[in-house]
Amino acid sequence: MAVRVRVPTPLRRFTAGVDEVPAEGASLKAVIDDLERRHPGIRERLLDDKGEIRRFVNIYLNGDDVRFLDQLNSKVKDGDDISIVPAIAGGR
């Protein structure tokens, strides 16, 4: 499954400054593993030492927070959009 991943500024040093990169995988976890192969070091920024999504990282699959889906096991289809966003502080 080929997807596009939007990368926030703090992670672009792993992607040579590029803000949107391709990746492949059938699940979010597989996509992150593929990102790590293409951009070594990026996985550690997204996942903690237990392999869970870090507390201050939000990952959206086609606009939905993956915490509402199946977390890292969320299924990914061809052409899906994945967006990585640091948590935003403050109220409304």
């Binding site: 502080a89 403050g90 109220g91």
Partner: protein
């Protein structure tokens, strides 16, 4: 002069310079402003602070702006009301309301955080300030930007009520509505902040923005006569204010403005958006996001960025938290208005409703000093209570009609009281 030394990641401890940065490059943890407390201790005194103007900058040594700040010259130093009638109703002698319904100029606690972040935006030389908000944050940013002479863009999800758009546009802000939900708006704003180099008050200026929330706690301590309350109840939305009130109390001790004293800090959420309360009650650190559904829109954040720090501050202090249903929130808004003449937005109703629960649970003793944090004004959220207030009586313009109406309304009571 500023006593700020650097920024530090709250998670992994990595140091960063004082720049418009907001997340750690290593772990995405939020960055925190670090001060030289030893120098501050030597520089501040109660007497010096007491002589200063009644605004939030009276605590300038413990805030991150440079020079003599002129943003928000009338913001902060809101009343700490000794709530005697509400206290009598509840059997409490030392109940206080910290009343940010009258914060200047936009009637919410957001005037504090926005004053500090816009002062900082000017320090950094930004020309444009911005935020994603439909409510208190938007109006505060728009108003303070106008006074600072900065350009302002406000981002909202499409479909928000006209009133919310007016509340920002009136100050000259450019309002942009996004086809999408709040998360979409926030994601876009992060990207715009990166690409356009604008100051988003709660994104790339977040470490400075959140420091402004400390002034709520500083004022409570000073207004109590330079001491800490036994209990303070603070609402949680994104999780900014509560940990910063706890930090404020600790800093006052650290720099010697307060000798000692322990406090318990409790939190309040609306039952329809209570991810932090769920985690607190389950005894876990992991906050599972929820999809908010409550009349308390200003605190309806289902995925609070700083929720973890709320949990930690509450637990460290020995405090607790509860959630209030929409009906309880409305009842508490009315109770506060009827007894103290203060009209709070639903976030304030939430906080008071939760205070009542904590009293009933015996977590707050009736002779202790209690501060209830009221962070926004009810005039902005009339729709939340409009359906549950007494409807007016309608009569013709004839005295006889009024006589008859008066008899129906209070006749029985008057007879019982034996009045003339």
């Amino acid at each position: 002069m500023s006593f700020v030394t650097n920024l530090k990641c709250r998670e992994c401890g990595q140091d960063y310079p004082i720049k418009p940065l907001h997340v750690c490059e290593t772990c995405f943890g939020p960055l925190e402003v670090i001060y030289d407390y030893a120098k501050i201790r030597a520089a501040v005194s109660r007497a010096a602070i007491e002589k200063r103007p009644h605004n939030l900058w009276r605590y300038r040594e413990l805030l991150p702006a440079e020079g003599e700040p002129d943003i928000g010259p009338n913001s902060g130093f809101t009343p700490l009301v000794h709530a005697k009638r509400l206290g009598a109703e509840l059997g409490l002698k030392n109940l206080y309301i910290k009343d940010d319904t009258v914060n200047h100029p936009t009637l919410s606690y957001k005037d504090r955080v926005v004053s500090v972040s816009i002062a900082k935006a000017r320090d950094f030389g930004f020309q444009v300030v911005s935020c994603a908000s439909t409510g208190n944050l938007a109006t505060a940013v728009a108003a303070h930007a106008a006074r600072a002479g900065l350009q302002c863009f406000i981002f909202m999800p499409e479909g928000v009520e006209t009133g919310k758009i007016v509340g920002s546009t009136i100050y000259g802000a450019k309002v942009i509505t996004i086809r999408g939900n709040y998360d979409d708006v926030n994601r876009l704003c992060s990207e715009i902040a990166d690409k356009y180099g604008w100051a988003f008050v709660n994104i790339n200026l977040r470490p400075y923005y959140t420091e402004g929330a400390k002034t709520f706690g500083f004022e409570v301590a000073e207004q109590l006569g330079w001491r800490l309350p036994d209990h303070i109840v603070v609402p949680t939305a994104g999780g900014t204010i509560l940990p910063k009130v706890a930090k404020a109390f600790k800093e006052f001790k650290e720099v010697g403005l307060i000798k000692s004293g322990d406090f318990k800090i409790h939190t309040a959420q609306a039952a329809g958006s209570a991810p932090v309360i769920h985690a607190l009650h389950k005894g876990v650190d992991l906050i599972t996001p929820v999809k908010p559904n409550t009349i308390a829109k200003s605190i309806a954040i289902g995925n609070p960025a700083d929720g973890f720090y709320v949990l930690r501050a509450v637990r460290d202090s020995g405090g607790w938290g509860e959630a209030a249903t929409d009906a309880e929130i409305v009842d508490a808004i009315k109770l506060l208005a009827h007894t103290e003449g203060i009209f709070a937005e639903p976030a304030g109703g939430t906080t008071l409703a939760v205070t009542l629960k904590l009293l009933n649970q015996g977590r707050i003793k009736r002779d202790e000093t209690i501060v209830v944090s009221i962070t926004g004004n009810g005039y902005k959220t009339l729709e939340a209570v409009a359906g549950s207030i007494e409807q007016p009586s309608v009569i013709e313009a004839r005295l006889k009609e009024f006589d008859a109406l008066y008899e129906r309304l209070v006749g029985g009571k008057r007879a019982a009281a034996g009045a003339a």
